[in-house]
């Protein structure tokens, strides 16, 4: 008789794991097409989920990026606007009221609209305003137009160039995507086109700076000083009354040591007809933001569920096909641990290969997409998606594992008749 294995549970577990690894690898290598096919399916699910995550992040970023990056704590709306920026409107008098509130360190008026940046080679560059567009052959890039007060909350720091020289300078700071789409660089003069009354007007603006991403409402954006904004923005009447400057909301920075919640209370109590919210509340109230987020999240969730079902179904079918083998293994003395380890290792390995292939495929595909596609891969959302994907294999395989462990050798081998 051969020497008996010492009765050491740890040794037995190690033996089971080692044997499970050997059996799993041999089965996968010798049934490579079968396992490759499920890895390919997992890779496709991975591509889909990463794209959904990237698209979700890209769209969300496109909506919130400018608001999220405001150098302030609160955004003040007209009380009746129901936190809709387009419905909120103030004139300059509100700025003085807000400034008087104890705890306000700084504030800046913000105004939002949209315009079209004409192609650089088509732009007039004499620095003067052009007349109406005569023909209908209009081109260019539609962008969000944001009016800010130079040096105040809301005016972004530039990564290239400089900030505005005055409140009415014919200058623009381009967000990164706007610069990418139009090809504009610091020092260029670009032409923007807006409808004034019933005609299109063109205005030349000098690009003085490029800021990091400043998207707003899924659009690339350009920023101008507030008075320039008022002149350039589309409006029913081209005339501008500089004594009565209008804007949409006010960004407020709290003084050191003043909690934003306290400042919010004070603002709403001391300034008539305003509602103040933090920046997160502000961008979640951008029209469509929450609906869009929940749509993309629902799609991602269901794709993950489909992934769990597909992976689970595959391993479930495979386990059912292997019932006689598993029964034989149990009969000859293979422990439940060995069966479990072998099943889990195969699931984890197949899933890992699929996720890795999918991640590589996503990176390759994403690189081939034009910049207009709003896909944004952030380490956190990619990490979360990959963690979810790595969980779907074992989650889907739980049923298979349970089935494998419930195989009765007696029944599996036809001895239980």
């Amino acid at each position: 008789m051969l020497v008996r294995l010492p009765g050491c549970p740890g040794l037995e577990v190690a033996l089971s794991v080692r044997l499970a690894v050997t059996l799993s690898i041999k089965e996968m290598v010798r049934n490579a097409p079968r396992f490759a096919s499920i890895s390919a399916v997992i890779a496709l699910i991975t591509v889909l989920i990463l794209f959904l995550a990237g698209l979700g992040e890209g769209l969300a970023l496109g909506n919130r990026q400018f608001l999220e990056r405001i150098d302030g704590d609160l955004l003040v709306y007209q009380e009746t606007a129901d936190l809709q920026i387009a419905a909120s409107q103030f004139d300059g008098s509100v700025l003085a009221s807000i400034r008087r509130v104890d705890g306000v360190a700084d504030l800046g008026a913000l105004a939002f609209s949209s315009t079209v940046v004409e192609p650089l080679d088509a732009a007039g560059s004499d620095g003067a305003e052009d007349g109406a567009q005569a023909d209908g052959a209009l081109g260019g890039e539609r962008v969000a137009l944001i009016g800010v007060e130079p040096g105040r909350p809301g005016a972004p720091p530039v990564r290239e160039g400089r900030t505005f020289t005055s409140l009415d300078a014919n200058e623009a700071i381009f967000g990164a995507r706007a610069a990418l789409f139009t090809g504009a660089e610091v020092g260029d003069v670009v032409t923007v086109r807006s409808t004034q009354g019933a005609v299109d007007e063109r205005y030349d603006l000098r690009v003085v700076g490029i800021a990091n991403g400043q998207q707003y409402q899924i659009s690339a954006s350009i920023l101008t000083p507030l008075v320039t904004f008022e002149r350039v923005r589309p409006k029913a009447d081209a005339a501008v009354d500089p004594r009565r400057l209008l804007f949409d909301v006010v960004a407020v920075r709290a003084a050191d040591g003043v909690p934003p919640a306290t400042l919010k209370e004070r603002l709403e109590r001391e300034v008539r007809g305003v509602e103040a919210v933090d920046l997160v509340t502000a961008y979640t109230n951008v029209p469509g933001y929450t609906a869009q987020e929940s749509t993309v999240n629902t799609q991602t969730f269901f794709t993950l569920i489909i992934g769990v079902l597909v992976v689970g179904g595959f391993f479930q079918i495979q386990t059912l096909q292997k019932v006689p083998q598993i029964g034989m293994l149990r009969a000859i003395g293979a422990s439940g641990g060995l069966i479990a380890w072998a099943t889990v290792l195969q699931i984890v390995f197949t899933n890992l290969v699929g996720v890795a292939l999918g991640a590589l495929g996503t990176a390759g595909l994403a690189a081939s997409f034009p910049p207009q596609v709003p896909i944004e891969f952030r380490p956190t959302n990619v990490g979360t998606a990959i963690a979810g994907l790595l969980i779907i294999g074992p989650a889907g395989g739980l049923v298979a594992l349970r089935a494998a462990l419930r195989v009765e050798p007696l029944t599996a081998l036809g001895l239980g008749k």
Binding site: R4, A331, I332, G336, L338, L415
Partner: protein
């Protein structure tokens, strides 16, 4: 050792020769298995008693439903008896919990089944070495023994083949090697010739019998095919769950055939 030789050895031991009596490899005492089916109690196996000595090859025969499969399952520790005991190398199997029973099976019992014998993704040699791996005994000496055994079974040139590349007879021979490689006390075979043609069936059982005798293992083979009993030392004949008789001279196939299905 031939079948006749084994019989002679057993008879000598039974006659009380000078040598001390050897512990039976398998002792079955009053083994009973009943099932409840509604109000009815069905006796699958009732009060079966017999022993098998090391080096003895026993056939378990009987018509369908005679209880031989249930009996084999109880001998293997895959089915708990309602009453009675099974001892393998002196160890009462019923005393073991599930975990210990699994360990006991992989050390003390060798199996061959009708089909589904081998793991399809392991080669011939790997399938045989699997039993050693399960027992944590993959030593060079054990590997040499596996190679010798496979050579003896005529599979020396098939070591790296997968089961799908073998004939049914070759697959059964691999499973015989796997059943014997870890030198168990008892080897159980459930219809090992069921899927083989006559010629291969004879080859397989003859090889099996000679290895049982040479290695001095106790072999129990369930079979429907009475032509195969010529290779065994004794025949345990079952009917309606009861042990009908034990035939000490299996060459008298005609006598057995009286009780055949």
């Amino acid at each position: 050792m031939t079948a006749a030789g084994a019989r002679a050895a057993r008879d000598e031991a039974a006659a009380g020769s000078a040598a001390p009596p050897e512990t039976p490899a398998l002792e079955v005492h009053d083994l009973t298995k009943t099932y409840r089916l509604g109000e009815q109690t069905i006796t699958a196996v009732g009060g079966v008693t017999f022993t098998v000595a090391p080096g003895e090859f026993v056939a378990l025969v009987g018509p369908s439903g005679s209880g031989k499969t249930s009996l084999l399952a109880m001998l293997a520790g895959l089915l708990r008896p309602t009453e009675g005991t099974v001892r393998i190398a002196g160890q009462p199997v019923a005393d073991l919990n599930d975990r210990a029973l699994t360990r006991f099976r992989r050390r003390m019992i060798g199996f061959t089944f009708q089909s589904n014998n081998l793991l399809p993704y392991l080669t011939v040699l790997e399938n045989v070495l699997l039993m050693l791996s399960l027992n944590g005994r993959t030593t060079p000496a054990a590997r040499t023994w596996a190679l010798e055994l496979l050579e003896q079974l005529g599979l020396g040139d098939r070591l790296d083949n997968l089961p799908s590349q073998l004939s049914g007879g070759q697959q059964q021979r691999v499973s015989i090697a796997r059943a014997l490689i870890h030198r168990p006390a008892v080897v159980l075979a459930d219809e090992p010739t069921a899927s083989l043609d006559t010629e291969r069936a004879h080859q397989v059982v003859e090889t099996f019998a000679s290895l049982i005798h040479e290695e001095r293992r106790a072999g129990i083979m369930v079979t429907h095919d009475l032509r195969m009993v010529r290779y065994v030392d004794r025949v345990v004949q079952m009917r309606d769950g009861m042990l009908e008789r034990i035939v000490d001279d299996p060459t008298d196939v005609a006598k057995l055939a009286e009780g055949a299905p």
